[in-house]
């Protein structure tokens, strides 16, 4: 398709600007010539062309509303339409963040309630809604850990990260000035307790654990893990990206986690927006409450207000209060599902993952063969060995069958990983059809490997040259 710039023609525009109802001043007089720009080279397109351009672009994009999107670790569940409508209410979209609290009592109540609900669901003392995404929440959480030790006068330069962890965990640790040390997994995919024992010293601020981890496996020894970390004065950080696996079944606070970040865009069904926005609230145990970012909401019955008077706070991690409109969607979701609905969501998510695991087990290597939680991880090793078909080929071939591919090559400890997270919103029929496609591809990989390697065959562009893109980067269009 043409670029919007290639459609541009001088003199066209989509959006007009009203004539001024106040006196027109000479801009050079009030601003000064030296501060004015020379050119403004934005695309000039008529509304019809703009709408067709973006509408046709959208048709080259796959979303949950088109079909199954089992992108492991990303929890691509269905995004209920009522949440979109609620979030579009002018009362929620129209308020300026600098409005004084009198204007914003509805918003404040919503955010306050949301913090309380999350605290209940996860068993934490308090939540902040400020972080803009999961990784931002990690950063915020790790900062609080840093502050905690700083305020105790302890120097703990190290943070432990399991080898299964998502890449944002080590990156967040590093962005907080920690040295990260990798903790090994054991044969059944859990924490290697011995290794943890050997690493956990008083130089270690804590352990960043994902539970269930990115293999989709629940840490059976969680009590022992928490005990080891705590016994050395360390803190246990929880990456809550996988929270869809345990709503109503257990609570991180009860399991011994001191900090946990959530991904509302995963667990609580807010759309992923082609890459965002998300929202990454962080919950903490009593011991860390004072370090939460400011401002925080204070309830002075019956009103609510913002307060920044928390001297031990880590400060701010972004302007204003968080991705408010995303929070509205997640809050709506929680309220509409209630206890029962959330629990059922988790149950069906786990049921679906185990169902896929069982159905595909004969056709793909399953490195950790145990009951999984909300996702399951296969390996494409067998296909590589048989016919040189790689996981990336299988992924591309799935596109031709009408599916978004799973997450691939993650977690790193599984070679040729295929990480499937079906979520609870997919029906048995969808899972069966998907499994049939996966089985057909396994078969095809044996019989006609080239066809798999040539995939996708049904897309507007065929396989793209990523190496060229990285070698000769072209990230901004230049006029020919």
């Amino acid at each position: 398709m043409e670029l919007i710039f290639e459609l541009s023609k001088p003199g066209r525009s989509t959006a007009d600007v009203s004539a001024s109802d106040v006196p027109v001043v000479n801009i050079e007089d009030v601003i000064g010539r030296q501060y004015l720009r020379d050119d403004l080279d934005l695309p000039e397109v008529a509304e019809i062309d703009l709408v067709r351009h973006y509408t046709n672009l959208s048709r080259r994009n796959f979303g949950v509303d088109l079909g199954f999107y089992p992108l492991g670790s990303c929890t691509m569940k269905y995004n209920p339409k009522i949440n979109e409508n609620v979030a579009a209410l002018p009362g929620f979209t129209g308020l300026h963040p600098n409005a004084s609290d009198e204007f914003a009592q509805g918003n404040l109540q919503l955010m306050y309630d949301m913090q309380k609900l999350l605290s209940s669901i996860f068993g934490m003392a308090e939540f902040t809604l400020q972080p803009a995404a999961g990784a931002h929440g990690e950063l915020t959480g790790v900062m609080m850990i840093k502050k905690y030790f700083e305020s105790k006068g302890q120097k703990r330069p190290i943070i432990l990260i399991p080898d299964t962890a998502h890449g944002t965990n080590p990156a967040s640790g590093a962005l907080c000035g920690f040295d990260t040390i990798t903790l090994r997994s054991n044969a059944e995919g859990g924490v290697d307790i011995e290794h943890l024992n050997s690493l956990m010293t008083e130089d270690v601020a804590g352990l960043m654990l994902t539970n269930p981890n990115t293999l989709g496996l629940f840490e059976r020894n969680i009590e022992q893990v928490a005990q080891i970390v705590h016994s050395k004065g360390g803190l246990l950080y929880g990456d809550g990206a996988n929270a869809n696996a345990f709503l109503g079944k257990t609570r991180p606070g009860d399991l011994g986690f001191d900090v946990i970040q959530l991904n509302l865009h995963k667990t609580f069904a807010t759309p992923h927006g082609g890459g965002g926005p998300g929202s990454g609230p962080v919950g903490v145990s009593e011991a860390l409450v004072n370090y939460l970012p400011v401002p925080r909401i204070v309830k002075n019955d019956p009103t609510y207000s913002w307060s920044a008077s928390f001297p031990d706070t880590i400060g701010r991690v972004r302007a204003f209060y968080g991705n408010f409109n995303v929070i509205v969607k997640a809050y709506t979701y929680i309220r509409s599902l209630g206890t029962e609905g959330l629990t059922r969501a988790t149950e069906m998510a786990v049921l679906n993952a185990n169902y896929i695991k069982e159905k595909l087990k004969p056709y793909y290597d399953l490195p950790y063969d145990r009951v999984c939680m909300h996702e399951c991880v296969f390996s494409g090793n067998r296909q590589v060995a048989q016919s040189g078909v790689h996981t990336s080929d299988i992924a591309k071939r799935l596109i031709d069958f009408g599916y978004h591919p799973p997450t691939i090559y993650f977690p790193l400890i599984v070679p040729e990983a295929i990480m499937i997270e079906p979520t609870e919103t997919e029906s048995k029929e969808t899972l069966d059809a998907f499994c049939d496609a996966m089985i057909a591809i396994a078969q095809e990989a044996k019989e006609n490997p080239q066809r798999v390697k040539d995939a996708p065959l049904s897309t507007p562009v065929s396989r793209l040259d990523e190496v060229l893109a990285a070698r000769k980067p072209d990230v901004c269009w230049k006029k020919p």
């Binding site: 409005a99 927006g273 926005p277 396989r463 990230v475």
Partner: protein, 441 residues
């Protein structure tokens, strides 16, 4: 409500296929003592109609302002209808990060176009696919400068948005970097002499904003020269993105990074979020900048296509050595920004001019009030600070009329007592402004 399609038959069949007798068995790995019987303290589920009723009632507890007079980091602008229709396309908003390029050409191309528009607007060569917001974009730019230069001090103008400085402070503290603040001079611009004094070879970057928090336009070029002369980099922020429709961008004045809040470009106020961080830079920083990048390439048949590129910068490849920890970004907000900018085109310049007309009108009107004085004489875009006899009383009067008043600068600048920062955009009609002055009078 719940959104699981499972019938009891389905569940029974699936349990059988898995080989379990109950759903509970699937949760056997959770130690018994930690198993919840019941989620505590939760309200019951609601029907869709009840849900809507509840949320409508909650939204109505907010007071919808008739007029909004504050900017200070978020700006009320008219959003052309096309923007909502495009970002409301399910194919866009129900997708995720375009890891699988062949079925994500829509978002990839739209982001590539967005990056191009941002680079042009900011006067730089490159821009990323978005950061969380303006404040965190600024902080990440500073951290990047310090990391790559092995210098540990950041020099920041006091006239940068106070919340941005707080975020900068938090990020720098976490990394062990220090911050020095540079005062402003009487006209509201940066104190260049003080800046010069603050510079030495420990300084990784100078951070300024133009228009700055007071609305004043800064003279960027000398700052860039000063920074470069001591081996430091210049990070220039902006306030209202629409100012870029008419003001010379910092990139054209030698800034190394241009960062700021992109909300003005087609994103509703939303009580502060989601917004998007604009992050633009000189080409030489391409392999070091944080965040996603969409890049052009070709497919097997030589056809143009787009992919996420330079992913080696990112955490899923380099993990602790990544250029930042950003994973989910603000893609849909960036899409809205792209659509907005394409919709306005050259009219963005007209819009910026209209903002200036409105601003001048409101400023002049207010200055006719008794005891009201201009605080800074530097040229302004659409925000300006005025000293008045009683700032609190002014905002209280406005609030009583359902108007969100001006930003009280004393909150962040003790020396600026009774000083209000007003913002006038195309959303204020002459009648609105006349009425505001009437109310204040």
């Amino acid at each position: 409500m719940d959104y699981c399609p499972h019938t009891s038959d389905d569940i029974a069949q699936m349990q059988e296929a898995i080989g379990v007798g109950s759903i509970e068995e699937l949760f056997a790995d959770i130690p018994q003592k930690f198993r919840l019987k019941q989620m505590p303290d939760m309200p019951a589920s609601l029907s869709e109609q009840e849900t809507l009723g509840l949320m409508q009632a909650m939204s109505r507890k907010n007071i919808m302002p008739r007029v909004t007079l504050t900017g200070a980091g978020a700006y009320a602008h008219f959003i052309p209808a096309v923007v909502g229709h495009i970002v409301g396309r399910a194919e866009f908003y129900t997708a995720y990060t375009p890891y699988q390029a062949e079925i994500s050409q829509g978002v990839l191309q739209a982001i590539y176009e967005y990056q191009t528009m941002i680079a042009h607007l900011t006067g730089t060569e490159i821009a990323n696919a978005s950061m969380y917001d303006g404040a965190s974009a600024m902080a990440e730019a500073a951290v990047l400068c310090a990391k790559t230069s092995n210098r540990s001090r950041i020099v920041v103008a006091r006239s940068v948005h106070p919340q941005y400085r707080q975020v900068l402070q938090t990020y720098c503290w976490a990394n062990g970097y220090t911050i020095s603040e540079i005062p402003y001079v009487a006209n509201g611009q940066l104190d260049v002499a003080a800046m010069q004094r603050a510079l030495d070879d420990s300084v990784a970057a100078i951070v300024v904003q133009s228009p700055n928090f007071f609305g004043c336009i800064e003279d960027i070029a000398p700052m860039a020269d000063a920074a470069h002369a001591c081996g430091a980099l210049l990070i220039a922020g902006f306030t209202d993105g629409t100012s870029l429709g008419i003001l010379k961008p910092a990139g054209a004045c030698g800034a190394d990074f241009v960062v700021g809040e992109g909300q003005s470009f087609g994103n509703p106020l939303n009580y502060g979020g989601p917004y998007l961080g604009v992050f633009a830079a000189r080409e030489k920083f391409l392999r070091r900048i944080p965040g996603r990048l969409a890049g052009a390439t070709v497919d097997k048949n030589g056809k143009r296509g787009f992919v996420l590129t330079l992913q080696t910068r990112e955490q899923h490849i380099r993990r602790e050595k990544a250029t930042s920890n950003i994973c989910s970004n603000e893609a849909l907000c960036a899409l809205a920004a792209g659509v907005y900018l394409a919709a306005l085109g050259k009219n963005l310049g007209k819009l910026a001019a209209l903002n200036i007309y409105k601003t001048q009108y409101l400023k002049n009107k207010l200055l006719q009030l008794e005891g009201w004085k201009e605080v800074f004489s530097a040229p302004v875009y659409n925000e300006f600070a005025l000293r008045c006899p009683n700032a609190r009383a002014v905002n209280a009067k406005l609030r009583a009329e359902g108007i969100i008043g001006a930003y009280d600068l004393q909150k962040d600048y003790p020396e600026l007592d009774n000083t209000l920062l007003f913002c006038a955009t195309e959303m204020l009609s002459k009648d609105d402004m006349d009425r505001v002055v009437e109310i204040i009078k």
